[in-house]
Symmetry: C2
Subunit: 215 residues, 2 copies
DNA sequence: GTCTATATTGGGATAGAC
DNA sequence: GTCTATCCCAATATAGAC
């Protein structure tokens, strides 16, 4: 009675516009990248200097340039790592669910979990100004949104057929926007309880999906 | 048959957690501030140096420090100016509308207009990382969100009584989040057409409001 | 591959002339 | 109130020793 995993895997990591940077890095480079992410979370983009990264990682200043070429090279990999982490969680939650109501619930629950963790949004919003002004990074950013809308509409449709997601495309756009926007309100006030708002959204989505399904 | 303006003005600029910085500035300081905003829009926060502002405004480097005390002082006023501009437009759209359907429509139309102009979101998202890390700025940011939720729920309720907005508070949170999130998607892709998504949102809001009103 | 030392740039702050 | 000159510092980049 369970769906075949192959079918449910119609959307997986291979469709992601970004890839996991870690497997392509030497152990030293991985340590540097991890240190850079910690600094970005804690102190923001402006604190992301070779000096600070060297201290945090235990590596030498010059070693950072050796492994990543330049500041821009490091930032590019950093952006991939942050984006990839966020996407991976969503894929993991829905990729192997059965078609139908179960998948829709899994998607909404995964969204809720992500939304409630402000910590990841700090690094994300720190990177946005730089992503938007770098043509290459912005293109990856754009593709990531496309991917999010694809995944969301696919999961909302509850069908394994990607084309079935089309009626849900605008709803997916709204859901993605909602999550980013709620993250911003959480940044403004870490004590703000966004669960009631999220619950309302989940109800509105379910109502809408039922109406679509009913014709 | 029209409501009194005094009553419709239950929410106005006096309730804003930030004030218009311009009236308190000398003509020179105003020119400097305008130049700073242009640079922020065009080149981002990192390009916002005394050097660049002096060149853009035609004023002298030292004059900037004289008028704003320090870089942080300038940024603080800059944040107020950007936030105030966004808020003013929304107030203008709904403050003098009649209670009921007209006000709800005015609110939604005002939101649509703001959402479609990516240009203002660039400066906003450039400032976010700095706002979030400065306790004073973040507090004003938090209060601004509270104000947005108040205004939105008040306008959605269609009543002049502020308390009538309570059932719409979560919906207001979602609307605010939606707009910020759509702005982000527009930053990622200026050609992305978010009107269909916005139309869907307007419909979902109307449906919800009708259901609440019906009891 | 790794590190030291140094070059170069550009930021904000300060003091004081006008 | 406005501007000039200068100081200090921190950042990335470079060259070359090991």
């Amino acid at each position: 009675m369970a769906e075949e995993h192959g079918a449910a895997g119609a959307i997986d990591t291979r469709d992601l516009p970004i890839r996991d940077p870690y497997p392509h890095l030497s152990p030293t480079a991985q340590r540097i990248l991890e240190a850079a992410i910690r600094i970005l979370d804690r102190e923001g983009f402006n604190a992301l200097t070779f000096e600070a990264i060297a201290a945090e990682s235990g590596e030498n200043r010059a070693s950072i340039r050796y492994h990543f070429g330049s500041k821009a090279g490091l930032v590019s990999v950093l952006v991939d790592a942050v984006m990839y982490d966020g996407s991976l969680e969503l894929i993991g939650a829905v990729a192997h669910t059965e078609a139908g109501e179960q998948r829709r619930r899994a998607l909404i629950e995964a969204h809720r979990e992500v939304a409630l963790r402000v910590h990841e949004y700090t690094a994300f919003y720190d990177l946005v100004p730089h992503i938007v002004r770098d043509p290459e990074l912005r293109e990856r950013f754009r593709q990531l949104f496309v991917w999010y809308r694809d995944l969301d509409s696919w999961a909302l449709s509850g069908s394994d057929d990607p084309a079935a997601g089309n009626p849900y495309r605008q709803l997916a756009t709204l859901t993605t926007a909602m999550l980013d926007g709620l993250g911003l309100q959480l940044l403004a006030d870490p004590d703000f309880d966004l669960r009631p708002a999220f619950d309302l959204w989940a109800r509105m989505v379910c109502d809408y999906v039922e109406r679509i399904a009913a014709g």
